[in-house]
C-alpha cells in the first residue's frame, strides 16, 4: 500500500477505512474546500508535486455524507486533464469508491451537462469499487495505468466535455488565443499567472482541448528573434486587453518600453462578468489617441462582443466597432499602419478592414482550430513579419500628415483650377506611394510627385510670339546655368529662345526672377531631383548608376520612399512660395 493514496473528508467512516486498508496518515489527502471549480486544477498540480502517487482512491461522493454530489468524479477528471502534470501523473490509476451500483449511480444522478463527468467511468485506468476492503484491495491489485500512447484513444476520445454556454465562445477563444501565442513567445508562465486567462484555461473544457491537441509543453521556449521595436510607438486596442492580451502584447513589444500603450478595458467593465458597463467610455478613450504619432496600431475587430457576437450573421463587417475605429484612425491619417486582430476566421470580416486600409491582420487562435504548436509558431512568425512591414512603412504617417497640411494650405488660398490641380496631384502621388511595393512603383510615385514642378512651371510660363518664355508678372526666362567657379547659378542676361527649356531651368527662372530668391543650393538640389526623374524615365544608366566617391548610388533612392521624401521636402518649400 506504499504507493496508494486516499482522498478523505476525515469522517469516521473514511478514517476507519484508511486504517483497514493500512494507508498511513501521510498518504491520506485532505479534501479541500473551494469556492471555484478552477481551484481544483491548482490543487491537483500541487498534490502531485508534493507526493509520489502510484494509485489514488477517491470516494465518488465526497463529502461522503452527501449523496447528491459526484465531486469525486470531477476531481478525477481534473487530474486526468491536468496539462501541467506529466502524462504519467495524469494517468495515475484512480479507484473510485461507491456502494451504489453503477446502474443506480448513473441512473439516479443528474450530471453536469457540459462536463459529463460520468463518461470518465468508462475510460482506461479508472476502476470502480465498493467500500468493501477486500473489493478495494482487489481493485488496487489489478489496477494499471493507461499507457501514455493510449491517452488519446482510451481516455480523451471517450470523454464528452463541452463549452459552457454562459461562458461564451468569445471568452474562451480569447484565453486560448492568448495562451497559444504566449507558448510560442516564451511568455507562458507570465500569461498563466493572469487570472483572466488561467480562469478559462483551468476549466475542464479548455483543459480537455489542451490535452487533446497536446499543445501544452513544459519546455520553456525563448523567442530568439524578438520584435525589434525600440523607440516605436505602439497602440493596442482590444476589449480583452484586461484578459491577458494587454500583458502579452506588452511583453511581445517589450523593446518599445513606455512607448507601448494598451487601452485599459478593465476600467469600463464589470469586474466579475467582464462585460462592458461603459463601452462608450472605452471608445472615447480609444478615440483620444487618434492623431498621435503611432508607428503601429493593433485593433480588435469586435470590441463589443456582447453586440457583435461571433455567430451573429446579421452584422455586416463595416458595422463592427473595431472597423469603425479603424475607419476613424484612417480618416485622420491614411498613413497609420494598422493590424486588425480578430478571433473570427471569417475572411469577409478581415477583407472589409483590409479594403478600408488596414495593413494586415492577425487571427487569434480559437480552440476550434486546434493548431499544433508548430503552426502557432508559424502564425507568430507571420505576425512578426507583418509588424516589421508596418514599421517599415510607418514613414507614411508623417508624409500623409504633411501632405494633408499642404493641401490644407492650398485650400486656404483662393480656389482655382491651378490649386485644384496641385491638390489632386499631391493626393495621387501619395496614393501611389501608399500602394508602392516594388522598386518601380516607388519610382512611379516619385514621378507623380515631380509633376507638381511641371504644373507650377506650366502655370507661370507662356511662350511669346518671338519664341521666348515669358514668366507670369515679370520678364522672360534668362539662360540660367551653373558657374563652377562661384558655385552659384548665374545668367549672361540672354533670354532663352526656342524649344522647351529644361524644367529645372524654367523653375530656376521663377525662383530667381519672379520670387527674387537666392538659395543656390536649393536650385542645385532641384536640378538633381529632376535629373533623377529624367534618368529613370529615359532609362539613362549614366544618370541612374552614378555613384559618389564612396561608391554609393546617388539616384537609386528613387526606388525607395527616401527618394520620395527628399523630393517632398522640396515640394513643401516650393508650395510655400506660391
Amino acid at each position: 500500500m506504499n504507493e496508494v493514496f486516499i482522498l478523505s473528508d476525515y469522517t469516521p467512516f473514511l478514517k476507519d477505512l484508511s486504517k483497514l486498508l493500512d494507508i498511513s496518515d501521510s498518504k491520506i489527502i485532505s479534501l479541500p474546500s473551494f469556492d471555484n471549480e478552477n481551484n481544483w486544477h491548482d490543487w491537483s498540480t500541487q498534490l502531485f508535486e508534493d507526493n509520489d502517487i502510484g494509485k489514488l482512491l477517491i470516494p465518488i461522493s465526497i463529502p461522503t455524507d452527501n449523496a447528491t454530489n459526484t465531486d469525486g468524479l470531477k476531481i478525477a477528471l481534473h487530474i486526468r486533464l491536468n496539462f501541467e502534470l506529466t502524462l504519467k501523473q495524469r494517468l495515475t490509476p484512480i479507484i473510485l469508491l461507491s456502494d451504489f451500483s453503477i446502474e443506480n449511480f448513473i441512473g439516479k444522478n443528474n450530471f453536469d451537462n457540459d462536463n459529463n463527468p460520468q463518461y470518465l467511468l468508462f475510460t482506461k485506468g479508472i476502476y470502480l469499487s465498493s467500500f468493501d476492503v477486500e473489493d478495494i484491495s482487489r481493485s488496487i491489485a489489478k489496477s494499471q495505468p493507461c499507457l501514455p500512447e493510449n491517452y488519446q484513444k482510451q481516455v480523451l476520445s471517450k470523454l464528452k466535455i463541452l463549452a459552457k454556454a454562459s461562458t461564451g465562445k468569445h471568452s474562451i477563444a480569447n484565453a486560448w488565443g492568448c495562451f497559444k501565442l504566449a507558448l510560442v513567445t516564451g511568455l507562458r508562465d507570465e500569461i498563466l499567472r493572469h487570472e483572466g486567462v488561467s480562469g478559462h484555461l483551468k476549466t475542464l473544457y479548455s483543459k480537455y482541448l489542451i490535452c487533446f491537441s497536446d499543445s501544452f509543453t513544459q519546455e520553456r521556449r525563448i523567442d530568439l528573434n524578438p520584435i525589434q521595436c525600440q523607440s516605436k510607438k505602439i497602440l493596442f486596442v482590444d476589449d480583452q486587453a484586461d484578459e491577458g492580451w494587454g500583458d502579452l502584447m506588452k511583453n511581445i513589444f517589450k523593446g518599445s518600453g513606455n512607448n507601448f500603450l494598451s487601452i485599459d478595458s478593465a476600467k469600463y467593465k464589470n469586474s466579475e462578468t467582464k462585460l462592458f458597463h461603459d463601452f462608450d467610455g472605452f471608445l472615447t478613450e480609444c478615440r483620444s489617441h487618434i492623431g498621435k504619432d503611432w508607428d503601429l496600431i493593433i485593433i480588435d475587430l469586435r470590441l463589443n462582443p456582447e453586440k457583435e457576437d461571433v455567430d451573429n450573421e446579421m452584422i455586416t463587417p463595416t458595422e463592427f466597432s473595431g472597423y469603425k475605429l479603424i475607419d476613424e484612425f484612417l480618416n485622420e491619417n491614411e498613413g497609420y499602419q494598422i493590424i486588425v486582430s480578430t478571433a473570427s476566421n471569417k475572411i469577409w470580416n478581415i477583407n472589409a478592414a483590409l479594403n478600408r486600409g488596414a495593413t494586415s491582420y492577425y487571427v487569434k487562435e480559437s480552440p476550434e482550430f486546434n493548431y499544433s504548436i508548430r503552426e502557432t509558431n508559424k502564425h507568430y512568425e507571420n505576425f512578426k513579419s507583418d509588424v516589421q512591414k508596418c514599421f517599415d512603412k510607418s514613414y507614411l504617417r508623417d508624409i500623409y500628415k504633411n501632405n494633408q497640411q499642404l493641401i490644407q494650405n492650398l485650400n486656404s488660398s483662393s480656389p482655382s483650377s491651378f490649386t485644384n490641380e496641385l491638390k489632386n496631384q499631391l493626393s495621387l502621388a501619395y496614393s501611389l506611394l501608399n500602394d508602392a511595393k516594388s522598386h518601380v512603383q516607388f519610382a512611379y510615385a516619385y514621378i507623380s510627385l515631380y509633376m507638381i514642378i511641371e504644373i507650377i512651371n506650366n502655370k507661370f510660363y507662356t511662350k511669346t510670339s518671338d519664341d521666348k518664355w515669358k514668366i507670369l508678372g515679370t520678364g522672360n526666362l534668362l539662360d540660367w546655368g551653373w558657374d563652377t567657379n562661384s558655385q552659384t547659378y548665374s545668367n549672361t542676361g540672354t533670354e532663352v529662345i526656342g524649344n522647351k527649356p529644361p524644367e529645372w531651368r524654367k523653375f530656376a527662372g521663377i525662383y530667381y526672377q519672379k520670387w527674387n530668391l537666392l538659395d543656390h543650393n536649393f536650385i542645385q538640389q532641384i536640378y538633381f531631383l529632376i535629373t533623377k526623374r529624367n534618368g529613370f524615365v529615359h532609362g539613362d544608366k549614366s544618370i541612374m548608376d552614378k555613384q559618389d566617391a564612396r561608391g554609393t548610388y546617388l539616384n537609386h533612392d528613387i526606388y525607395t520612399h527616401e527618394g520620395y521624401e527628399k523630393l517632398f521636402k522640396h515640394i513643401e518649400v516650393i508650395i510655400g512660395y506660391l
Binding site: P12, N36, A67, T68, D99, F100, S101, K108, N110
Partner: protein, 210 residues
C-alpha cells in the same frame, strides 16, 4: 416572496429563458433587481418583511443615481450594508456566482445552476405553496436526491457497524424505510441476520431494490 439582486441579469436571457419572470404570477412571488441604484436600496429594504429567500450575485455591482457603477470602495460599503440588513432578519440568503462551487449547506450556488433551477423552484411554490430552496440546488427531483442521501448514509452505517447493531442504528432504520416503505425495518434486519447475509450481499440487495 423571493428577491433576486443580480447586476448581470440583463444578460441572462442569452443563456436562459427568463422571460417567464415578466408574467404577473411570477412577478408576484419573485422580484428581480438588476441595475440597483443606491437610491433604490430602500425599495429593496421595504420588501424584506415579505421576503422569505434573498438571492444575490456574489460580486454584486451597485450603481449611483446617475446609473454609473460605484467604485470598489463605495460598492463594498453599500453591498455589505445591504447584506447586513438581510443578516439581521431571519431571511435565508443564497449567494450565486459564475463558477461558484454549489453547496447547499453554505447557501452558495453556481449562477447557471441557479437560473436553471429557478423556474422549477417557483413552479413548485404554485403547486405546494412552499418555497423549497433545495430545488435551487438539486432541481425538481430534490426528493430523490434526499432519498439517495438517506440511503447513502445507511450504506455507510452498514459498513461501519456490526449486523447485530443494525436495529439500533437510526440511519439504517431510516434508510430501510426509504428502500422498503411497506416493510418493517426490523423484520428486514432480522431476515438478513437469519439468512446470514454478508454486508456485501446486503448492499447488493439494497441496490437491487432502490
Amino acid at each position: 416572496m423571493v428577491l433576486i439582486i443580480d447586476d448581470t441579469f440583463i444578460d441572462r436571457h442569452k443563456f436562459h429563458d427568463v422571460e417567464y419572470l415578466k408574467e404577473e404570477r411570477y412577478k408576484d412571488i419573485c422580484k428581480v433587481f438588476s441595475i440597483l441604484k443606491t437610491a433604490d436600496i430602500s425599495k429593496v429594504l421595504k420588501l424584506l418583511p415579505d421576503c422569505r429567500i434573498f438571492c444575490n450575485h456574489k460580486t454584486l455591482q451597485l450603481y449611483n443615481n446617475a446609473g454609473l457603477p460605484l467604485n470598489i470602495e463605495d460598492n463594498t460599503k453599500y453591498r455589505e450594508s445591504l447584506i447586513n440588513n438581510i443578516g439581521k432578519s431571519s431571511i435565508q440568503r443564497i449567494e450565486f456566482s459564475r463558477g461558484l462551487e454549489t453547496n447547499f449547506n453554505t447557501n452558495k450556488i453556481d449562477k447557471d445552476l441557479f437560473y436553471t433551477n429557478l423556474k422549477p423552484f417557483l413552479d413548485y411554490y404554485f403547486v405546494n405553496n412552499v418555497l423549497e430552496p433545495k430545488i435551487l440546488f438539486w432541481g425538481s427531483d430534490f426528493m430523490e436526491k434526499e432519498r439517495l442521501t438517506i440511503i447513502q448514509s445507511m450504506l455507510i452505517q452498514i459498513r461501519m457497524v456490526s449486523i447485530s447493531e443494525f436495529q439500533n442504528n437510526a440511519s439504517i432504520i431510516k434508510g430501510l424505510s426509504e428502500v422498503y416503505p411497506q416493510r418493517d425495518p426490523i423484520e428486514t434486519i432480522e431476515r438478513w441476520i437469519n439468512s446470514q447475509l454478508s454486508k456485501n450481499d446486503i448492499i447488493q440487495e439494497i441496490n437491487k431494490n432502490m
